[in-house]
């Protein structure tokens, strides 16, 4: 797992309290609204996302930048590649 600190982002997707498999469906929808190269910050409290999101990024050709642990959630960063 890659760790980052104070990673800037272009948009945020708050998935805290949202259930699996939304953590794999919502980022895809949200990324459609970003331009190539922009970074999406995903907030989640679901432990499974730590494994699922990097794997999903690999499958879909997006770049998983890294994560940071916040007070009440994890913050994961995805760069739109396609």
């Amino acid at each position: 797992m890659k760790f980052v600190e104070n990673q800037p982002s272009d948009d945020t997707l708050d998935l805290v309290c949202r259930m699996c498999p939304l953590h794999l469906l919502e980022p895809g929808d949200k990324l459609k609204c970003l331009k190539k190269g922009q970074i999406l910050e995903v907030l989640t409290d679901y432990d499974g996302a730590l494994e699922d999101i990097p794997a999903w990024c690999q499958k879909c050709g997006q770049e998983f930048i890294g994560m940071e642990e916040d007070e009440d959630c994890y913050k994961l960063y995805i760069r739109k590649n396609n």
Binding site: C17, M19, P21, E26
Partner: protein, 390 residues
């Protein structure tokens, strides 16, 4: 025997247009919206169209609506869902003392989980004083819930002022608008609320459908865990026909609201004036002006509500009561107690709730039969003539 139905707060007939809109979704378009083939995705599209219609009724965005099984479920999700999502920020909840049981009991349930609850008292009209709310707030307050209007006494709360107090302090504000949506204009931005519950029952939609409005991606802990339905916020295969019914009913409500409000307001005023003219020692409960347009609630001295209702029923008239005997728990209505009605007077509670289908002629029929029923019951009553109404 003729039927004069004036208990529309409890249930209201589903409109013919609503039933017709729903029917194809039982056998013709019966697909599961979560399936990947076209039958499913078409139904999913239909659900999203209904979401837009419901959102329009209350001035919200479509993505801010969650369909639930009822107003009660929406209340549960609002209170428990936001309290559990915010519990790291604080553990104090404030609700009014006259909330619906689904709000009261959700709060009591959270009390058992180490949340603290303040039950705000109300004045003699059932109004919550914004200053009282402000002084009850604490640094650890995370959610406030005050109903938009109370179905028992009709009083409409000053939601805009109350929600502003919460907004200043970044506390979530929820309102149970089951009694108001479809009866008066409701706009979530005008009211300034973060969460709002509504029910199909008050809209001429079928029973078993409601919705929760939640502002701007507010965090909510789901109560019903499931799959991807309602974008992960409320699991369970969607009740498609009922959702379609709610959407159609919402469309009709938007169109008909101004005329409906005038019509039922006039009839209600006729009923109230007539009752005061014909029956002595009657208390009109709730606020005289800040109240639901079709709502008339009284406490009648020296008689008991269930007996009165039965007598009216025998003449084909349907109304409601908050008296102890009528309540299956044999407890006097906590709402009447909260507004300071003496317990013996509270026994004589009767509530009429009108809608567009009621007529002037029906009001006149009630004004003919009600005084007679009251007189008859008072003739049996050992306390008639001994006390005066409060």
């Amino acid at each position: 025997m003729r039927r004069v139905y004036m208990d529309h707060a409890a249930a209201t007939p589903v409109r013919r247009e609503v039933i017709e809109a729903m029917l194809p979704y039982f056998d013709e378009h019966f697909g599961n919206p979560s399936t990947i083939y076209d039958m499913g995705s078409k139904i999913k599209q239909v659900i999203e169209e209904q979401r837009v219609k419901v959102a329009k009724l209350i001035g919200a965005k479509a993505e801010e609506i969650i369909f639930t099984s009822s107003g009660a479920e929406a209340n549960n999700l609002a209170i428990k869902g936001s309290a559990l999502a915010k519990q790291k920020k604080g553990n104090h909840i404030i609700i009014s003392a006259i909330e619906h049981h689904s709000v009261l009991n959700s709060a009591r349930f959270l009390e058992r989980m180490d949340f603290e609850v303040t039950f705000l008292s109300v004045d003699e009209y059932g109004l919550v004083d914004p200053e009282r709310l402000a002084s009850a707030m604490r640094p650890e307050t995370i959610i406030v819930s005050i109903m938009h209007a109370n179905n028992e006494i009709g009083t409409i709360e000053p939601i805009t002022e109350l929600s502003a107090i919460c907004r200043e302090r970044e506390v979530s504000f929820h309102t149970d608008a089951v009694a108001t949506v479809g009866n008066i204009p409701v706009d979530v931005n005008g009211l300034g609320v973060d969460l709002l519950s509504l029910s199909g029952v008050s809209l001429g939609a079928p029973k078993g459908i409601g919705a929760l409005y939640f502002r701007d991606n507010l965090r909510l802990m789901p109560l019903i865990h499931g799959g991807i339905q309602e974008r992960g916020r409320r699991g369970g295969t969607e009740n498609v026909p009922a959702i379609v019914g709610l959407g159609r009913a919402a469309e009709i409500a938007v169109k008909e609201l101004p005329d409906k409000t005038n019509h039922i307001g006039e009839l209600r005023d006729l009923l109230v004036a007539g009752i005061h003219e014909r029956i002595e020692q009657v208390k009109y409960t709730g606020h005289p002006d800040k109240r639901l347009p079709g709502h008339a609630s009284f406490c009648i001295q020296a008689i008991e509500g269930e007996a009165l209702l039965f007598m009216l029923n025998q003449e084909g008239i349907y109304a409601n009561t908050g008296s102890a005997c009528a309540s299956k728990a044999l407890k006097t209505s906590p709402v009447l107690v909260a507004i300071g009605i003496p317990p013996d007077l509270a026994q004589g509670s009767i509530v009429f709730t009108l809608n567009s289908s009621n007529t002037r002629e029906e009001v006149e029929y009630v004004l003919e039969k009600l005084p007679f029923a009251v007189e008859r019951l008072r003739s049996f009553s050992p306390i008639w003539g001994k006390k005066t109404a409060a």
